[in-house]
């Protein structure tokens, strides 16, 4: 919990009103973002993202599994977030659990698309090895290490970076198995395939403080919010998911307005992230 005095609250709100926030940013500026990939060697892909004092890690683990009977031509992806009590004393016990569930649900909604798989950032049919029999199951884990607001955007970016860092071993399916038999597979140690990550959306959270809304709020600013809208947007400018936090109601026209602002900001964020990710990949290769 952030305990602020009345004066500090006024200072934050006044700053936002005048488009000059406490740390010198404008309402629509992000804090510096830094990306580091391949931070967990055991995982198939991983990344660490720092946005200001917020730090999160995402890891991707791939395992062979059986596709769902209803969708035999698609792999499965699950996203789970853990909020470490190290990041914030409040995360200990139930508080952390609730936040973890909320973030996990929001990320699933923003990245995995509809029930039929349409609009998903990850092309689920690329995860199939043998239709109806074998597919890759991706387990995406997010870990919040240090929390200073805007966790959802950071986690979304970390997952995007971790997926571009992910290599999945190429699998040879032994021919000959027919009917209901489970075919034998040969997993390659050398050949890896990369994901097409261009379709993965970014998440932009607009936090409403007073009459204005800001991007990339710090936890001090978040304590003053009346509501927040997180929009996930892909490169095409299409909305891939949306969730709202905070108790206060919003006028529908304000929401439409926020969505179009988020779309505008997402363009810059996608470009910024892409260049950071490729720089991080290059760094990793050099080492």
């Amino acid at each position: 919990m952030v305990g602020l005095s009345l004066g500090e609250k006024h200072f934050i709100q006044g700053g936002i009103d005048q488009n000059l926030r406490s740390d010198g940013r404008k309402r629509d500026t992000y804090r510096p973002i830094s990306v580091e990939t391949g931070v967990i060697p055991q995982a198939n892909g991983s990344a660490r993202i720092r946005i200001g004092a917020t730090e999160v890690i995402a890891s991707v683990k791939a395992e062979l599994g059986r596709p769902n009977a209803l969708q035999p031509d698609k792999g499965k992806v699950s996203i789970f977030v853990d909020c470490s009590p190290v990041a914030e004393p409040m995360f200990e016990g139930r508080g952390g659990e609730e936040l973890s569930t909320e973030l996990s649900v929001a990320l699933q909604r923003c990245l995995l698309g509809g029930k039929s798989g349409a609009g998903a950032g990850i092309d689920l049919s690329s995860l199939i090895v043998a239709e109806g029999k074998i597919c890759w199951d991706l387990y995406i884990d997010g870990l919040v290490i240090s929390s200073d607001g805007n966790l959802l955007d950071a986690l979304g970016a970390a997952i995007k970076a971790a997926l571009s860092n992910t290599g999945i071993p190429r699998v040879q399916v032994a021919a000959g198995a027919s009917g209901d038999e489970q075919p034998e597979v040969d997993i390659s140690d050398e050949e890896f395939m990369q994901f097409d990550t261009s379709g993965i959306p970014v998440i932009v959270t607009l936090t409403k403080v007073g009459r204005h809304y800001i991007v990339d709020a710090t936890s001090e600013e978040e304590s003053q919010m009346s509501s927040a809208v997180s929009v996930s947007i892909n490169r095409k400018g299409h909305i891939c998911g949306l969730s709202k936090r905070g108790s206060a109601g919003l006028d529908p026209s304000v929401i439409s307005d926020m969505i179009s602002v988020a779309r505008h900001i997402s363009e810059q964020l996608i470009n910024k992230l892409d260049s950071e990710i490729s720089a991080a990949e290059a760094d990793e290769d050099e080492m």
Binding site: E98, L112, K115, G119, I239, K244, G249, I259
Partner: protein, 257 residues
């Protein structure tokens, strides 16, 4: 008898001999198909509400939209749990659970954590929490039968139950969802339609104040479609609001007699 002890025998639900397939009209979006229950794309199911379903609760409501049947009970304001710290605004505690027979295949009848937190978020903005400091209002929902659009029905029903309990609110909360199937938008989807949807949107709003308390979107949406869906939901919410108000008025005039 199962009560005789020992390991419970594993059982299964017999499946039909003819495998049900994804109905052709869902996969081909260009065809003008009919909805399984014969409704138009932008037509909601007939809504039925009744307050005072549970006598032992402070307030309650029953809602029936086609096969979706839910009961919501409200208890309190009552003492908060001992472990809670002092709070000068009231607390709202929500829980949504399903019966074992709610779904076509027998389930375990467990709590739905995601829906519980969504219900909380949808209602909290409409309740005057400052009118019951230090205490808690419990909103418990039981989905008797799941027939699609469960969450919006639970939310609308819960706001009626709150009104029935005399909890002060700024406005009722009406919830409506829209599914996107191919190029078509269909409102108030049933279970079958939900399982094939490409995207979905749920809006809960306070119709008289014209404020959205909760909005969730999944799937890929273009701006035009997004705006169309939002307008569709908002219009349906204000219609639903009229039905909900009529239900409350009826209950109030019945109690006066």
């Amino acid at each position: 008898m199962a009560a005789q002890g020992g390991a419970a025998p594993s059982t299964y639900t017999p499946t039909p001999t003819k495998k049900t397939q994804r109905s052709p009209f869902f996969s081909d979006s260009d065809v003008d198909w009919l909805r399984p229950d014969g409704r138009g794309f932008h037509q909601c199911r007939a809504a039925f509400f009744r307050t005072g379903a549970v006598n032992s609760a402070a307030g309650s409501a029953y809602a029936e939209f086609g096969n979706t049947k839910v009961i919501v009970s409200v208890f309190g304001p009552r003492e908060s749990k001992k472990a809670m710290v002092y709070s000068d605004v009231g607390r709202l505690n929500c829980n949504v659970s399903y019966t074992t027979f709610a779904n076509p295949a027998r389930g375990l009848g467990s709590d739905n954590k995601e829906f519980s937190s969504m219900l909380h978020k949808a209602l909290e903005g409409a309740i005057m929490l400052e009118t019951f400091p230090k205490t808690t209002v419990d909103v418990f929902a039981l989905v008797l039968e799941s027939g699609g659009s469960d969450l919006p029905v639970v939310i609308s029903c819960a706001s009626l139950a709150l009104a029935d309990a005399g909890i002060m609110m700024y406005d009722l909360v009406a919830g409506v969802s829209v599914s996107c199937l191919g190029r078509n938008l269909i409102i108030d989807p049933i279970l079958e339609e939900e399982s094939f949807q490409d995207g979905s949107m749920m809006i809960t709003c306070m119709p008289s104040r014209y404020e959205v308390t909760q909005l969730t979107i999944t799937g890929e949406w273009s701006t035009a479609k997004l705006n169309e869906a939002m307008q569709l939901c908002l219009d349906a919410c204000s219609k639903l609001d009229k039905i909900m108000r009529a239900c409350l008025e009826e209950a109030a005039s019945a109690s006066q007699d």
